[in-house]
């Protein structure tokens, strides 16, 4: 049994290190963005976030969250995320094509 559980630990580490998953797995909340923010061709009204600079995204989100940047809906959404969560989302969005 002990040997099995060690094997499980190895398998788990190897699964999480799989390049396919690491490249594509969005952090909590990030997958929802593309409902409004296109992952395809740019739209006129709502900005495309894929490939944007992560610091820019982070600055915008924290500004929406504390009310220093005007927003219609992003202020209400940004309040649902911590700094760490926002940083992870910004980094993931920046890494998308």
């Amino acid at each position: 049994m002990k040997a099995r559980c060690v094997a499980v630990a190895i398998a788990t580490v190897m699964a999480s290190a799989s390049p396919v998953l690491a490249a594509s797995e969005p952090p909590p909340g990030a997958a929802a963005c593309s409902g409004c923010h296109t992952s395809g061709a740019a739209s006129a009204s709502v900005s495309r976030l894929y490939g944007r600079n992560a610091d820019e995204i982070m600055t915008a989100m924290t500004g929406f969250r504390d009310g220093s940047l005007p927003a219609t809906v992003m202020n209400r959404i940004a309040k649902g995320f911590s700094d760490d969560e926002l940083r992870a989302i910004a980094a993931w969005l920046a890494a998308q094509k």
Partner: protein, 426 residues
């Protein structure tokens, strides 16, 4: 590597050992080479999930089972009813879904054998799965209001599934004389698109105000409160003064029965005879969910908030309007958001991992007029076995916003529809 994707969570320790052993040998096609996922239902939930599965793990065999060749979207169908939009603008095909590598089967699913993990199709054949996703939307309950059956719906349209019913309600409004009474019967919670009946009232009033200004609109409601209530009621006063009347449950608004022959809606307090009657009946999860054993006594599907796996039917996940998603409303945005979360969880489960705790988002726009948008948003996370609101986040548009703000939200509403339909069907 069939053995790896047929494991249950209880067998995980043993299967993990097998996986580790397999990794010790150079097997290039290791990851879920043959894992099969079937998705039933090609709406915002199902089509999103099928595409997301394929995008996350291209090796998965993903099959989308959907009998209709054309999908007609509900969001923005109130604009069709109001004469502001063509039905064609609501319609999408599955060519791009197929081009993304999803096998699209244009048949109805009629049976599910959860033990054998097979889905039976209308033509008598069956297909096997390792994981099944149900996204069947809602069925209208034709047993809930006395006199309101499918035949009555041909006279008193529900227009709560977009398509012929949408066009029928449109035609009835066009044929109505100026000075007529339009009645909307709204159901108790939960139901598809909680702000939908009230947006519909606005956009019908927009049409009436423009073309038939002596007409009235009455909402008979089985509830005392509704989504975005203050915003809608302010908009009714501001945009359509004297035209819309809302009768709540406690004021006797609940419709108990209808008489389709005379277009009459019957409440405890009296009868209302309408020139145009739009009866939105109570709903439940699409029938296939019940066949799968995924529904509870409410007629909806209880799910695990991390994986969207059914609480009663193992290896079967339920997303979209059919599932009980706690605080998340039954919206197309929710369905799309849940679909992507569920796809990630399934890919992780099939590779032997444990899905991460997700966060989900919903944003629902409604139009009070073509240039007057309002919204509700929320952020959700698993809590006590349900999806709960993240405290401090979400809420509705401000009550005191200027018209320019409403115009911007109307623009964002249009933009959302273009973007989400491009992601799902484009």
């Amino acid at each position: 590597m069939g053995i790896n994707h047929r494991i249950s969570r209880r067998e995980f320790c043993g299967a993990g050992a097998a996986t580790a052993a397999a990794l010790a040998f150079p097997l290039p096609a290791f990851a879920q080479a043959a894992a099969r996922v079937i998705v039933i239902g090609g709406g915002f939930g199902g089509a999103s999930c099928a595409r997301a599965l394929k995008a996350i793990e291209p090796k998965l065999q993903v099959t989308l089972v959907e009998p209709n060749k054309t999908f007609t979207a509900c969001p923005f169908s109130n604009n069709v009813i109001a004469g502001l939009r063509s039905i064609e603008a609501q319609q999408f095909g599955y060519d791009k879904v197929a081009a993304a590598g999803v096998t699209v089967v244009a048949q109805a699913a009629t049976a599910i054998d959860a033990a054998a993990r097979t889905v039976g199709l209308a033509d008598g054949t069956s297909i096997s799965y390792d994981r099944l996703v149900l996204s069947p939307g809602v069925d209208l309950r034709f047993d809930a209001l006395q006199g309101y059956d499918e035949a009555a719906a041909a006279k008193m349209p529900h227009a709560w599934k977009a398509g012929e019913q949408t066009l029928l309600l449109r035609k009835q409004l066009e044929a109505m004389d100026d000075g007529g009474l339009v009645v909307i019967a709204a159901p108790a919670n939960p139901f598809r698109c909680p702000p939908g009946p009230y947006e519909r009232a606005c956009l019908i009033a927009h049409y009436l105000k423009t073309k038939k200004p002596r007409s009235k609109l009455l909402i008979l409601d089985a509830k005392d409160t509704f989504s975005k209530q203050r915003l809608f009621q302010n908009a009714w006063k501001e945009l359509y003064p004297g035209m819309i009347e809302w009768v709540s449950l406690s004021q006797g608004g609940k419709v108990n029965a209808v008489d389709a022959a005379t277009n009459t809606l019957i409440t405890d307090f009296g009868n209302h005879t309408a020139q145009v009657a739009n009866v939105i009946p109570p709903q439940r999860a699409g029938r296939i969910a019940e066949i799968a054993g995924a529904t509870d006594k409410t007629g909806w599907c209880a799910i695990d908030p991390v994986t969207f796996e059914s609480k009663s039917a193992p290896n079967i996940h339920v997303i979209g309007d059919a599932c009980l998603a706690g605080a998340m409303p039954k919206s197309a945005f929710s369905a799309n958001s849940q679909a992507k979360t569920c796809a990630q969880a399934i890919a992780t489960l099939l590779s032997g991992g444990s899905p991460a705790t997700p966060k989900l988002i919903n944003t629902c726009y409604s139009l009070a007029a073509p240039d007057y948008g309002i919204s509700v948003a929320g952020v959700y996370q698993p809590k006590n076995g349900l999806l709960a609101d993240v405290e401090g986040a979400g809420g509705v548009s401000p009550a005191d916003a200027p018209r320019e703000f409403r115009a911007r939200e109307a623009d964002y509403a249009q933009s959302w529809f273009s973007t989400v339909t491009a992601e799902v069907f484009g």
